[in-house]
Subunit: 333 residues, 2 copies
DNA sequence: ACGCTCGAGTGAAACGTTTCACTTCATTCC
DNA sequence: GGAATGAAGTGAAACGTTTCACTCGAGCGT
């Protein structure tokens, strides 16, 4: 069995309480005693048992973060932001990947609650989850990431997707494009609908008729392969568009591949814009113009909000933070 | 405060022990009693406190997985494999991202040991780590991922990189290439050195002189940007190579971009091969030929090995599993 | 009617910490 | 000189489980 604080106490010739003090408030114990205890810890290879500590303290210094898909660079950056602020405040982050499966999300929520994490950051699979509501009801602070709670009874951090669509739209229109394809994922995804709405607003704002300018291509998933197939199909049919605005960079990468493989020059024959500004966007065969979301900041702010709520559960007021996206111009437009 | 097993016991009118039995060995308690207890649990919103459970049980049903970089699809797949087998055996996985910083790795090892995880899967930042050795000495089973322990005193799972380099080399030679650039990361990375060694073996095996066929381009990092820059430089100088073999797909993506931006046709003017077969490889502007590693299987086997060791610490014998890579041919060659 | 076995449930000890009221002893103050 | 103060350390209770030796009856065969 691993040595306990008691073994350390015996070896150092002090009481258990003193060892605990050395561990938690070193300044409360005299220099020489501390040295002895530290030596004993070292000799025995003692490692504190955090289960016991937590049980007694009643609270853990850790947060849960449940993301939809760790393969997605967006969430990777969010996680980075969360870890940044959490670890700087001495919190550990338990990272969970729901893989967009409600069942996995439920299991992780259960585990996190059993571990008595201080709070949970989550991008839920479904708009509302019974288990998540229960967690909140029982008093665990929760922050929604890249989602908003219509009932506004918890904090959330998201990005203004309408503004992002508008940014892209205004830019493409300013470049003189009169026929724009919008490669969307399933319209059920709020992000897709919002980005299209922004695009339409931009076109309308320029005095054009969105219905004749925009050609919506709805695809079944936001993946490169799908973008490629959808673009090939569009090219084969009529396809007199001069620009493609894609609901995310993966789709855009697929469209780029379709363009290259059919001998179209980018941006001369076809301008391409992505969304998200993932790392690969800058390194694509033709570096992609895109809409950047302040992903790391999203994570940071979400974590800050959560910890703020943990520290002041009484005075805390829920906030809905909304970030503004940013236009990134590269060679594909 | 959250309700405890005791509150449940009172409410259901049974003893604490019975509630515990309902939770852990439901078959040991009579149907009707069980129903009452379950009802009480539901009404109170009871959630078991895993700190207490672990403290008492002395052992947790969780594993630690420390990877170098969650942004790297390789590790993402490994994690998937680990989670697959862990969760099917009722274990939870604590996912940690060392970001190639020894300091972070150390912190995570500390946290995992404090949590008394059953075992640790790790791709260490440095070849040897004091803290990792200590962990092992204290009896926590450990499995190395994508690394080998020269002293063979723990299990490891890796892929034969020499074989992978050879696969690529033989293929390129069979295509008639007589001048091949090898874009390597820092030679200090074993993978890079091994892949080059394999390439040289293949060239030699074909009766050619590796020194005159192979042009080694050592780069400071395995990133797309770096590959782009290195390739531009190579093109500017002499650059009479007809094929580029890259130590990983990111580098290859960069080389592809350089080729496209300088008007070279791929594969006619320059054939490009990557390594890893990440998801983006298939969806690049020109789909990349690559060497595929059975990443998910690596994770699965590593987890299996670890759990095997956890279950039979006495009889367990350390194994060094070595997977064979596979050639994937696409349009870039 | 007797001893047995068996299923169902009980109660208390134990896990390794943290915390807090308390003791000791030396120093300071008037 | 005696009380007051403060620093250093002590010891035991408490946290919420799991586990195990135990009790209590009911049902069984003879």
């Amino acid at each position: 069995m691993a040595p306990s604080i008691k073994d350390v106490a015996v070896r150092a010739g002090v009481s258990i309480g003193t060892v605990s003090n050395v561990l938690n408030r070193p300044d409360k114990v005299a220099e020489s005693t501390r040295a002895q205890v530290l030596a004993a810890i070292d000799e025995l290879g003692f490692v504190r048992n955090s289960s016991a500590a937590q049980l007694r303290a009643g609270t853990s210094r850790s947060l849960g973060l449940i993301v939809l898909d760790m393969a997605n660079p967006f969430f990777h950056d969010v996680a980075k932001g969360v870890e940044d602020v959490a670890s700087s405040l001495g919190y550990a982050v338990v990272l969970c990947n729901s893989d967009e499966q409600a069942g996995r999300e439920d299991r992780y929520l259960q585990v996190l609650e059993e571990q008595r994490v201080r709070g949970v950051l989550i991008t839920p699979v479904e708009v509302s989850s019974e288990r998540l509501d229960a967690l909140r009801r029982r008093g665990t602070p929760t922050v929604l990431v890249d989602r908003h709670d219509p009932r506004i009874d918890c904090c959330s951090v998201a990005v203004d997707d309408v503004a992002g669509g508008m940014l892209a739209g205004e830019y493409l229109v300013s470049l003189g494009h009169k026929r724009i394809a919008f490669f969307s994922g399933p319209m059920g995804i709020r992000q897709c609908a919002d980005r299209l709405a922004g695009l339409r607003q931009a076109v309308t704002g320029a005095g054009l008729d969105p219905d004749s300018v925009i050609d919506v291509v709805e695809t079944p998933a936001l993946k490169a392969r799908i973008g490629y197939e959808a673009a090939r199909e569009l090219f084969d049919s009529s396809g007199q568009v001069t620009a493609a605005f894609c609901a995310n960079d993966l789709l855009a990468l697929g469209v780029l591949r379709a363009a290259v493989s059919t001998g179209r020059r980018v941006p001369d024959d076809l301008a391409i814009m992505g969304y998200d500004d993932i790392e690969f966007a800058a390194d694509a065969a033709v570096p992609l113009s895109s809409i950047r979301q302040p992903t790391v900041d999203i994570g940071r702010d979400a974590a800050r909000l959560l910890l703020e709520e943990c520290d002041n559960p009484e005075t805390h007021e829920h906030q809905q933070v909304m970030f503004e996206p940013e236009l990134v111009i590269r060679e594909s437009t």
